[in-house]
């Protein structure tokens, strides 16, 4: 049984301008001890997916339908009481901005111990010991002294390490990292990613990394989900996604990043502008920007289909290719002949 099982999740925000379908029917599993990356651009619904799992959505947001199962236990509509035992204990989250996610008016030690008190039965002294141990684990020098300092006395990279210490203090099964290194410099980013990787190997938790940076994904993830406009375009092992992309959006994304080979040459950007979530097209959400869009792409959404055991994609181009080489018989795939 997968540790986390998300199926057909729909999350919407109800705004004066209308319903914004931020997450529009996504399904995925996360196994114990694995690192799963969700990549996508702003507005693709990657953070909302994480907030839905933790149920920390803004007041206008709501899980409309679908199911989120943690270790077999249903979390959607489970109620705040259940969620309190999940958050921090079983699933922890670290946020993008380490500058604003710590309370400036309390010491680091106070904030770490608060998390430990809330979720375990340790007494004051034990909680303090555990906090010091966690700081040492994330490579903070002189942890006893640092316990009594305030967040402003720490640099950005150190604050993010403290957030990681706090998130891991209660040994969660899953760590959700929402753009954990976006606000940090490259050399500090390398430190944090290295730390997350070694802690993951040491403690054996599963990590869900949410990022827009394909470089971070390539470095960290076993499996990758590519999201666009609230839907999953493609899912597979990191090698499959990077070396054998089978969705036009993923292909476009990979083509548009500058690499050593593109110096002096032109980049191949994805044309057009990001989608307006209030006016979603009827067919594939990427179709308006896709240079290979066919008639059916504008009419109907493609279901996710298996490319191989380690790879699924939702793109009509694969159906077209399948029909052409005869691997998909035309009569069973109604989409096939309508190109």
């Amino acid at each position: 049984m997968p540790l986390l099982e998300v199926s057909d999740l729909h999350t919407s925000f109800f705004t004066p301008a209308g319903e914004v379908r931020a997450v529009n029917g996504i399904s995925f599993n996360l196994d114990r001890g694995k690192v799963l990356g969700i990549v996508g651009e702003s507005g693709s619904g990657k953070s909302v997916t994480a907030y839905s799992i933790m149920q920390i959505l803004a007041s206008t947001g709501k899980i409309v339908s679908g199911s989120i199962k943690l270790d077999g236990q249903e979390l959607v509509n489970a109620g705040e009481k259940v969620m309190k035992t999940v958050r921090g204990n079983k699933v922890s989250i670290i946020f993008q901005d380490p500058m604003t996610s710590l309370n400036p008016t309390y010491t680091i030690g106070h904030q770490l111990m608060e998390a430990i008190h809330l979720h375990t039965s340790r007494d004051r002294r034990q909680a303090r010991e555990r906090a010091v141990e966690m700081l040492r684990l994330v490579n903070i020098n002189e942890p006893e002294k640092r316990m009594n300092q305030y967040p402003f006395e720490f640099s950005g990279g150190m604050r993010q390490r403290i957030m990681i210490a706090m998130a891991l203090a209660c040994e969660p099964d899953i760590l959700i990292a929402d753009e954990p290194t976006t606000a940090l410099d490259v050399t500090i980013q390398a430190q944090i990613l290295e730390l997350m990787k070694s802690l993951q190997e040491e403690l054996g938790m599963a990590i869900l990394i949410i990022t827009h940076d394909l470089g971070v994904v390539a470095q960290m993830c076993d499996e990758v989900i590519v999201m666009y406009a609230g839907s999953i375009c493609e899912q597979g092992t990191a090698d499959e996604i990077f070396y054998n992309p089978r969705h036009e959006y993923t292909k476009g994304l990979l083509r548009s990043i500058p690499t050593a080979d593109t110096a002096g040459a032109k980049l191949q950007p994805i044309t057009g502008t990001p989608i307006d979530l209030l006016n979603m097209p009827k067919g594939c959400p990427f179709a308006p920007r896709c240079e290979n869009a066919m008639k059916i792409c504008l009419e109907r959404r493609c279901e996710r289909m298996e490319i191989n055991e380690e790879h699924q994609a939702a793109c009509w181009m694969n159906v077209k290719a399948g029909v052409e080489d005869g691997s998909i018989p035309i009569d069973t795939q109604e989409g096939g002949e309508a190109k």
Partner: protein
């Protein structure tokens, strides 16, 4: 290459920019944001400037345009110093800037045509209203904006389109030199490539010279002819883009290049990353001697004693490191 083409368009000599910081009542201490930085940019060239937050790269760009008055040193344009008020006014017609944040660098109360037209107003570059309007529409077309949207406000545009508005504004005076301060870092990957391509096209069409400031090394590597690396207010290395990426000489550049997360899982697995310990020191308490010595794996006593000279180790490859010669 001919002599004329090689002549620098913009030159900074021993540029210094210190900001006074209050450290108690009536006492200040200088924050050396830029400390003795020299470089030159040839006509038609793109010089990339990389470094981490607080290294002074943005301050270099702003001081170069006299948005800050330099504390010391000299700025030369076309071989002539820019120092008097008249010099600066004339220089600013030829040198403009594109800012990082397309959300806060455009006035929300002005229409797009007024934003793009403002430099024209300031420098009185038109004879009639109609000429002004025609110029604005031409600029909008040039950066790929629909000129029918001239009467709209900035908030009606997406991030990529706003950055195009900022670029059109920078182009309004037909400049020679543009300081691009992190112009694509606020944009999504797919939009980022569109804007980078536009910078390339504009350079080819108009013969522009860029100082391209960014922290994303893959982007800078793509767009630049040469790259300069800064650390704590000092320039530590300067070389051709391919050279500095493949054969960095300064230990800081080495770790910076190896820390870049490559969008390629196999390369990422094979990459031997040089992870630096510790954090960047505060520029208010910069270490003595070489600023990088506190994090440098090869630091010796000599590094604490004196700031290494910025010298040419290979043709066109400058580096400021005492041990660069023996270690490479």
């Amino acid at each position: 290459m001919s002599q004329a083409r090689d002549l620098p368009l913009v030159e900074a000599k021993h540029l210094k920019e210190y900001f006074p910081v209050n450290i108690g009542m009536f006492r200040t201490r200088p924050l050396k944001a830029v400390d003795d930085v020299s470089f030159s940019i040839r006509r038609g060239e793109t010089l990339g400037l990389v470094g981490e937050s607080g290294c002074g790269k943005t301050t270099v760009g702003r001081t170069l345009l006299h948005l800050y008055k330099p504390t010391g040193g000299e700025i030369l344009y076309n071989g002539k110093p820019v120092s008097s008020k008249a010099d600066i006014h004339a220089f600013r017609k030829k040198a403009t800037m594109v800012f990082q944040d397309p959300y806060s660098s455009l006035n929300p109360r002005m229409t797009v045509s007024d934003i793009i037209g403002e430099p024209l107003d300031v420098h009185k570059m038109y004879a009639s209203r109609q000429e002004r309007q025609e110029r604005i529409l031409e600029l909008m077309n040039r950066v790929g904006l629909n000129s029918e949207h001239a009467a709209r406000y900035a908030h009606e545009f997406s991030g990529g389109q706003r950055q195009r508005i900022g670029i059109a504004r920078a182009l309004a005076l037909d400049p020679d030199f543009i300081v691009c301060d992190e112009p694509v870092s606020a944009l999504d990957v797919s939009i980022q490539a569109q804007v980078i391509n536009m910078f390339d096209e504009l350079q080819a069409q108009m013969g522009l010279t860029y100082l391209f400031i960014a922290h994303d090394i893959l982007v800078v590597r793509h767009i630049s002819d040469r790259i300069a690396v800064m650390y704590l207010g000092k320039m530590v290395e300067l070389a051709d883009a391919a050279e500095i990426y493949e054969r960095p000489l300064h230990p800081y550049t080495k770790s910076l290049m190896s820390a870049v997360p490559l969008p390629d899982p196999k390369a990422a697995r094979a990459n031997k990353r040089i992870v630096l310990t510790g954090d960047i020191p505060s520029p208010l308490n910069a270490p003595s001697g070489c600023p990088f010595r506190t994090r440098c794996p090869n630091a010796t006593e000599a590094c604490a004693a004196a700031m290494p000279e910025f010298k040419e180790l290979a043709p066109g490859h400058y580096v400021a490191c005492h041990r660069a010669g023996e270690l490479n």
